[in-house]
């Protein structure tokens, strides 16, 4: 907000601006040419927002490095252990927004023992004194405590946006601090976090006089909230555009909120069922007209405990929806069809496989603008019934030609369908296929899935992210190494025959940044083949592979700029045995906050 900038002047930049003005009017003693250049550069760099561009700028010369450092306001740190808070703060003095990412992704699936690290505390402590004008914090997979949140709320008077994704360590008492002390708060987004129930009514802690809230997302909070307080909060938050409720909000309560906030653009609908038994003849609110009144609604999610009878309520908004998240909605084919037939503008669609192949065919028939599809399993086990298969994938590939990103869980698949998708959807950037049965081949031909994934890397020229599954030999990896020239993220599980598989990838994929592998037969020789590349990567994760401790030690010796962590299972008696290798480049000495089961080589 501009008032903030006026209240808190930044003397250095103002002086520079005055100098330039002085030069132009001839009043001033002219500064040296270098200084002029630097002043001009700084003013130009203010417009540069992409961090890749900024990184390039900072490499030109020392002067440009300094200018860039002074003007960078958005700090992105992809691995919180790659650099220390002190180093970051010393280089970038004027930061307004910080993005910090902590644990590697496989930690989401219980593969990493708890208390591994990624603590927010040292960061918030350092920033509290050095970045008084901090406005935005975005954290992913970090451990955040209530005290951290309290410190954040106290230290940054201009604080506007807090986004926590897949974080844990805090509870509703931390949220209460944020709500009550961050008077400029516009965004409080809690996405897939684990939030402890401290039995604190945090919703009541927002300022009574009115808020500037634009986005309030708390669908991941697994405890009841004070609904009356929420209703009053929505009533005094005229800027609110995004509201995602948790499953403790019933459809009747949703109605009351919607009629107070028809300006919403993003809505998470809570449980979408009634809390009490509604006997026949009772008057139910007119849900349809509540939805119809939300003319700006483009993104709809929630449906946590959906009673499908209520689905018709959303028909009025379907035609405008660009994003629909049914991934918690246990609905069948017919129920989906009744909705999806209206959703012509849909670009993002998340759904459960309970809708079956036929449901996906309906999606393919209507959603010609689809860019992103995610199909989650309702029964996430290896040998469960598989309601979706290659039939659904084929249909999507034929109907949704603009598809850019797909995540598809299934029990059976064929190479033919994957090949078809590679040809039909040439814009694919993200292809993640999870055949839930380990080592499962093409269920019609009995062959490995090599050719399917091979076709994806060959034909999808923009592909940057790939997750593979099913029965895969080294051949699949040779395809990836040969054709996957833009691949940045690769996820591998239960795949490959020998070291050659990993070698193909490490030698062939120059853009590889994030490589996560589990339960695949790759050993020390394969690990060695990536020495030329590891400094260009954010991290490498290998768990339950064929690595030995000596092999990892060799890497640690050869590459002093890498932190090589070997992580034991808690049960593991053998102090030399380990389950996980997690290594990453770092400018710092190895971290001192590692728990006992982590050994840094």
């Amino acid at each position: 907000m501009s008032e903030d900038r006026n209240e808190m002047p930044e003397p250095e930049v103002d002086t520079r601006r005055r100098e330039i003005a002085g030069v132009l009017t001839g009043e001033f003693q002219s500064p040296s040419p270098d200084q002029v250049l630097e002043n001009v550069l700084e003013n130009v760099l203010l417009f540069l927002t992409s961090r890749r561009d900024r990184n390039a700028v900072s490499l030109v010369c020392k002067s440009w490095y300094r200018a860039e450092a002074l003007t960078r306001s958005d700090l992105f740190i992809g691995n919180c252990y790659a650099v220390s808070p002190r180093r970051a703060i010393e280089r970038f003095r004027r930061v307004r927004s910080v993005v910090l990412k902590g644990k590697p992704r496989f930690a989401d699936f219980n593969l990493m023992p708890p208390n591994w690290g990624a603590y927010f505390t040292p960061w918030v402590t350092a920033m509290a004194t050095s970045y008084p004008w901090l406005e935005k914090v975005y954290l992913k997979r970090m451990f955040v405590t209530d005290r951290d949140l309290e410190l954040l709320a106290q230290s940054f008077p201009a604080f506007k946006e807090l986004v926590l994704v897949c974080c844990d360590g805090f509870g509703t008492s931390g949220l209460a601090g944020i709500a009550s002390k961050c008077r400029q708060l516009r965004v409080l987004d809690l996405i897939e976090d684990e939030v402890a129930d401290d039995e604190v009514d945090w919703i009541s802690c927002f300022p009574e006089s009115g808020t500037c809230l634009e986005s309030l997302i708390f669908d991941c909070i697994e405890c009841p909230i004070n609904f009356e307080a929420l209703e009053r909060l929505v009533a005094r938050s005229p800027s609110l555009r995004k509201l995602r409720l948790n499953r403790y909000v019933s459809i009747g309560q949703l109605y009351r909120l919607m009629i107070r906030a028809p300006q919403l653009t993003h809505l998470g609908s809570g449980s979408f069922s009634s809390s009490d038994i509604v006997a026949q003849g009772d008057q139910e609110p007119d849900y349809i007209s509540a939805f119809a009144a939300c003319r700006s609604l483009v993104c709809l999610s929630g449906f946590r405990e959906i009673i499908p009878d209520y689905l018709p309520a959303i028909y009025p908004v379907c035609a405008n929806l660009t994003s629909l998240n049914f991934s918690y909605a246990n609905i069948n084919t017919e129920q989906l069809k009744s909705v999806i037939c209206h959703c012509h503008k849909l670009q993002i669609f998340w759904v459960l496989d309970s809708v079956c192949d036929e449901g996906l065919q309906a999606v393919a028939a209507t959603c010609k603008e689809l860019r992103e599809l995610r199909v989650f399993p309702i029964d996430a086990r290896e040998d469960s019934e598989g309601p979706v298969s290659e039939v659904g994938l084929q249909a999507i590939s034929e109907g949704c030609r603009k598809l850019q990103s797909i995540l598809y869980f299934c029990q059976r698949m064929t190479n033919a369908a994957v090949i078809a998708m590679s040809k039909n959807c040439s814009d694919l950037v993200v292809f993640r296929l999870c055949i839930m049965g380990r080592h499962r081949p093409d269920h019609i031909t009995g062959e490995p899935m090599d050719e399917g994934f091979g076709a994806i890397v060959m034909n999808c020229k923009k592909l940057t992210r790939l997750a593979i599954s099913g029965l895969l030999t080294d051949k699949a990896f040779s395809y990836i190494g040969k054709y996957g020239k833009l691949v940045r993220t690769l996820s591998v599980a239960f795949a490959g025959d020998s070291d050659m598989g990993l070698k193909y990838v490490l030698e062939g994929c120059p853009k590889l940044q994030k490589l996560e592998i589990r339960d695949s037969p790759f050993g020390d020789a394969a690990l060695r083949s990536g020495l030329h590349h590891y400094y260009n990567m954010r991290f490498l994760w290998m768990s339950s592979c064929r690595l030995s401790r000596q092999g990892c030690e060799e890497i640690a010796r050869a590459m002093p700029g890498l932190v090589v962590e070997v992580i034991r299972n808690e049960n593991e008696e053998d102090k030399d045995g380990f389950e996980i290798l997690y290594m990453y480049r770092s400018l710092e000495r190895p971290r001192i906050d590692a728990p006992e089961f982590v050994t840094i080589l």
Partner: protein
């Protein structure tokens, strides 16, 4: 490896094993993390005890006989996995939960009427839940032989005796249950 195990079970070495500890007590095995999510913070002294929050020794799930589930596979966040149980049949979609109060009990309970096939099952469940006995039902005299009487509130807000109407009609009109006790119950015909 396998040979040794077979050998051990033939000789039943466990039975003659010398160790400190009461006979019949077994080592608790650590389980892979799974089970019901409990997001109340554990107090410091209990949080380190078992590997998994919320699952105690008495309450272990056995791995399915078909295949042991692999940790972290398929790669779905536990938040999503635990969010719902798969529907078995269409009919079981929405449970029919009603509150049950008992005179004198400090808090209410909730039961799913759809689980029961008729009055006998329902009454038995109530008796088990609240540890009391109901008398015998007769159309003329209601429940005789006990000071407890099961009643329910119907759609119109009236308190009715459980058992008078056919089961299906009861299911669709029952909004909540109350086990009345003592003098309150007399009016509903407990056969004084």
């Amino acid at each position: 490896m396998e040979g040794a195990v077979a050998y051990e079970s033939d000789l039943n070495l466990k039975a003659t094993e010398l160790r400190l500890g009461l006979p019949g007590s077994d080592e608790a095995e650590k389980e892979a993390l799974s089970g019901v999510r409990n997001n109340k913070r554990a107090s410091p002294d209990t949080s380190d005890e078992c590997g998994s929050k919320g699952s105690s020794n008495g309450d272990r799930e056995n791995a399915p006989a078909t295949k042991a589930q692999v940790v972290g596979w398929p790669p779905i966040r536990s938040f999503r996995k635990n969010s719902f149980q798969p529907k078995k049949t269409e009919a079981e979609a929405a449970g029919m939960f009603v509150k049950v109060s008992m005179d004198g009990a400090p808090y209410l309970r909730k039961i799913d009427l759809k689980v029961y096939k008729g009055y006998p099952e329902l009454l038995q469940a109530l008796q088990n839940m609240f540890k009391f006995t109901i008398g015998d039902y007769s159309e003329r005299e209601g429940y005789k032989g006990s000071e407890y009487v099961p009643t329910y509130e119907d759609k119109d807000g009236d308190w009715m005796l459980v058992g008078d109407v056919p089961w299906d009609m009861f299911m669709s009109s029952c909004k909540r249950l109350r086990i009345m006790k003592g003098s309150d119950a007399r009016g509903l015909g407990c056969g004084a």
